[in-house]
Symmetry: C2
Subunit: 384 residues, 2 copies
């Protein structure tokens, strides 16, 4: 396989972008990434998107977006793995370059979520769960993650304060990110005093509904060396599945797909988890980040609450997690999230993360997750 | 890149499968393909599906289907390129094997279309067109293809009888395929006497709404040589896009994405169109097959009507097209169609196509198309 580098990255400020359509926000991000790379053409396009059919009545995004970017007839492909669609798109683009099939691949993620009402958005997001066996019985994602949180509290003594500390940390990071949807700092008291959505999860334990796109340009190493930006390589990629329905798992606090994807990505990269300098992970709810830090091996099983309490995952801590603000503060346009995680790690490894820069960052990890952990994608990036 | 072989193939009889769910029909096809290959495990799964969100309220098929096939934690990915989703899935699986990332990849296509009513199905299929600029103005796919047909008639003198002959030929082929949805022979008079859907397209010029799944197992050549089935390799793969909206094309009878995808696939295979012994192409409407045979180079521009009239594309003709019955007779569960095209060519190249066997078939081509030609995927297969 050929070595693969990230040649350019781009995204707009995320939020409720009512005046722009799905194709508009994609083109914005793609042009920013092309500009960042200083490359004037692409050979292929991969777009990660969870549910443009239900959110906007539009499928066939490979063709639509290649056309609107003025890039037809290049191959255009959409990939989907629920909220891990962006990570899956990066992995697919990685293989297009690694195999030698294409040289320069534009990988984007996009989701336009605010053109529908709340009930419709809840239905659309529910399609990431088992529609016939979970949603049919009334489950929604806040409810599913609330069950994970309750079990984590019961087994390991995790507290609502520890959950809140995830949100506080990520909003603090997001306050340093000019592209974050909710860049305000919040306090533990504010989280605990906010409206209860699904006990024990308050609204400030939940990531928001967001419109947004993100794009990265992938290409072979020899081409990357000719460009002006510091060289960042993707050295490991792992993807795994688990039962889609939560009730089918032996242990609902154990994110097995994340563990497997991380093992595979680290093995491919020739690294251990101790080599990682920073990580962007899928904090769709605060409890998710706690379980993810355990599945990745940053904490022992059950100790994710204590990990955030210790400050180890804060900016300046031993292993900063979600320096971008994470899904919680930066926003969560589901298909775009996995691509934006790559963007944050690239900024960090290039040393251009400004007020949220992790000192001496050399190796970064991204972890993107679909549903309640039915799928996961992990990538390892390294600065040359 | 590693050479890639098709190790096994499987699909059920297609039709209105009301007693089975999407996951059921996928598992049926996947088990048939595994059985055909005599392989007992897979390393990765790719599923092509156009719009499970709108047709069944279920996304996240990579996880759902890996789980229901008992194959979690293998990576599971859904890819989408409207009605070319199946072909795009084959190409994605091809790259997974070619890159060395995975050894044994199950590529499937699936669509469950009859769980919604006619209006909902028309809306869902419309998401393959430009929703904001075509469907908003009242266009549907029969209408879009009717405009292509009218233009073809105006420019080249193509007749309704020639369109009907495509349907007659494909139903004749389908009558030899036990898995076809509509395996009855029809006559030109029956086509011309059937209800008009969008002038000049009668209902018998249109492919049906279908439930169905198809699966193929891809793997490296050295593994294929250890199995008992005759060796069939994928030697070329091409994918291309065009404007998604018909009104943006310079020439609406010219399927540029198909031309480009075929050029790329043939170049990769080291073949010319004259080397092809049979082809499975995307006859979603009879006019489509006429334009496709021109874009592929089986006929000169404008001469596709005369080609079918001459009998050259019939079984026993110079270049048999759609020996399986095509979308017209075999059925068109949109995401599954591109994978089923591979299955037919594999059966032909193995010499196991029974009553529809093409004599001395050595090299076959598949052409799968999204929307009105906004995307196309072409593969070339060869018997060892």
């Amino acid at each position: 396989m050929r070595e693969v580098a990230v040649l350019g990255v781009g995204m707009q400020k995320w939020g409720e972008l009512w005046e722009k359509s799905l194709r508009d926000i994609f083109v914005e991000a793609a042009l920013l990434a092309l500009d960042d790379s200083a490359i004037d053409h692409i050979d292929s396009m991969v777009v990660g998107c969870m549910s443009s059919g239900l959110f906007t009545g539009q499928e066939h995004l490979g063709s639509l977006l290649a056309d609107y970017l003025g890039q037809a007839p290049v191959p255009g492909l959409r990939v989907e793995s629920a909220c891990a669609s962006g990570g899956a798109a990066v992995r697919t683009g990685f293989m297009q370059v690694a195999s030698g099939m294409h040289d320069i691949v534009l990988v984007s993620g996009v989701e336009k979520m605010t053109d529908v009402g709340g009930d419709e958005a809840t239905y659309a997001l529910g399609t990431a769960a088992d529609q016939e066996y979970e949603c049919f019985n009334g489950a929604t994602f806040p409810g599913l993650y609330a069950m994970i949180a309750r079990r984590h509290m019961y087994e390991f003594g995790t507290t609502s304060e520890q959950l809140a500390q995830i949100a506080v940390k990520n909003h603090d990071n997001g306050s340093r990110n000019p592209l974050a949807q909710f860049p305000m700092k919040i306090s533990v008291d504010q989280v605990l005093g906010s409206v209860m959505i699904a006990d024990p999860l308050h609204i400030l334990d939940c990531s928001p509904i967001t419109d947004g796109a993100a794009a990265v340009i992938l290409g072979p190493i020899d081409l990357a060396k000719k460009l002006k930006k510091p060289l960042v390589k993707i050295i490991g990629s792992g993807q795994a599945t688990d039962t889609i329905a939560l009730q089918d798992r032996e242990d609902m606090t154990d994110l097995k797909s994340t563990r497997k994807a991380a093992e595979d990505a680290l093995a491919m990269a020739g690294k251990t988890i101790g080599d990682i300098d920073l990580a962007e992970v899928h904090d769709c709810f605060t409890i998710a980040e706690i379980c993810i830090t355990e599945a990745l091996g940053f904490a022992e099983k059950g100790q994710g609450g204590k990990l955030v309490e210790s400050g180890a995952t804060a900016l300046g801590g031993e292993i900063p997690v979600n320096t971008s603000g994470g899904l919680k503060s930066k926003g969560h346009p589901v298909g775009a999230t996995g691509v934006a995680q790559i963007i944050e790690v690239v900024h960090q490894l290039r040393g251009e993360a400004d007020k949220r820069q992790v000192k001496d960052a050399r190796v970064g990890l991204t972890q993107n997750m679909g549903g309640s952990g039915g799928s996961a994608v992990v990538h390892i990036l390294e600065a040359e």
